[in-house]
């Protein structure tokens, strides 16, 4: 069965809603040249096609489907703000986000992605007012994959609020965090003691001291090292500021 929407150029947002039972199938938005929002989460879709070169799409929300294969090249989505592809079966590496300067939220959690995470603070946007990094990014969520290597330095992510990177194989961290950061889940990785200590130090240095009700740092679980004595001292500083901190 086929649903058609005409004329496609008159349609600026599509919310698929939720099918019961799940309809599955294939969505194609190739002809929707003026589309700004596509929200088709939770329908067991096996393919969503035709979005990756659309410069007008700001919100692409296709979580909780049955999407597989590599995440398409989204560098042509120059207006993209929110990219939700969590809870699918995507494979391959983290997508190239060097064409998406307006990103606010990226969530690739609970897929089957591998490889390293990009050094997002070092991504350059020539001609922009800020140069490097993502000035509007508030959530960087990569949990539940098989990423290795380092958690990115967030020095050029000034509004970051959530860093959810738990349940991967990440080992390292060197860098800083912004004061806006309030939820850090890096539990169940393979973080070295140096990485654990560096994370604690970076959060101490960020110096968040207000609106602490949701300030949570989770570094426990399997695989992560325990902090050193210096790290424990920083953990105690954070607890004193109102953070809820879990370490091994």
């Amino acid at each position: 069965m086929i649903i058609t929407l005409t004329p496609p150029q008159n349609i600026t947002s599509i919310r698929c809603g939720e099918s019961t039972p799940k309809l599955g199938g294939v969505i194609d938005v190739s002809d929707f040249t003026n589309l700004q929002l596509l929200y088709c989460s939770g329908n067991d879709l096996t393919e969503v096609n035709g979005y990756a070169d659309n410069p007008n799409i700001q919100f692409l929300l296709i979580a909780s489907n049955q999407l597989s294969g590599p995440i398409p090249d989204i560098t042509g989505m120059s207006s993209l703000k929110r990219f939700w592809v969590m809870v699918n079966q995507f494979t391959g590496t983290f997508p190239d986000i060097s064409g998406n300067p307006d990103l606010e939220v990226i969530n690739v959690g609970n897929n089957n992605l591998t490889g390293t995470l990009p050094d997002i603070s070092a991504i350059e946007f020539p001609g922009s007012a800020w140069g490097f990094g993502f000035p509007d990014l508030i959530r960087f969520n990569v949990y539940g994959n098989s990423f290795t290597g380092a958690i990115p330095d967030m020095v050029n992510i000034p509004k970051l609020n959530y860093l959810l990177a738990d349940n991967n194989n990440l080992t390292d961290f060197t860098g800083s965090f912004p004061i806006t950061l309030e939820r850090v889940f890096v539990n169940s990785n393979n973080l070295t003691q140096t990485a654990v200590d560096n994370i604690l130090q970076a959060i101490v240095d960020a110096n968040r001291t207000t609106n602490m009700a949701n300030a949570i740092l989770e570094m426990g679980g399997t695989g992560n090292s325990a902090p050193s004595a210096a790290g424990i001292a920083n953990r105690n500083i954070l607890v004193g500021r109102g953070w809820t901190v879990t370490t091994n």
């Binding site: 069965m1 086929i2 649903i3 600026t12 309809l23 929707f32």
Partner: protein
């Protein structure tokens, strides 16, 4: 079939065409959502479109929804 790429007012005689097939394949308009025939009673809820001008949804079972409001629901039961 590129001649149909931007078509939005195809007629057969005086009758408005809603779909054009070539050798059994839908060529106009392009399918938005393709899925296996749903079980009777299958529902789509919470769905909506935002429009810059009038549009039509063909839900595949003979149901045609003409929409002109800025935001319009197309919830449906098959």
């Amino acid at each position: 079939m590129s001649v149909l790429n931007n078509a939005d007012d195809i007629k057969s005689g005086s009758s408005q065409a809603s779909r054009v097939y070539s050798a059994g394949t839908l060529v106009w308009p392009t399918a938005f959502w393709t899925f296996n025939d749903p079980a009777a009673g299958t529902t789509i809820s919470g769905s909506s479109l935002t429009l810059s001008a009038a549009a039509t949804a063909n839900l595949g079972d003979g149901t045609i929804v003409n929409m002109s409001a800025p935001t319009d629901s197309i919830d449906h039961a098959y």
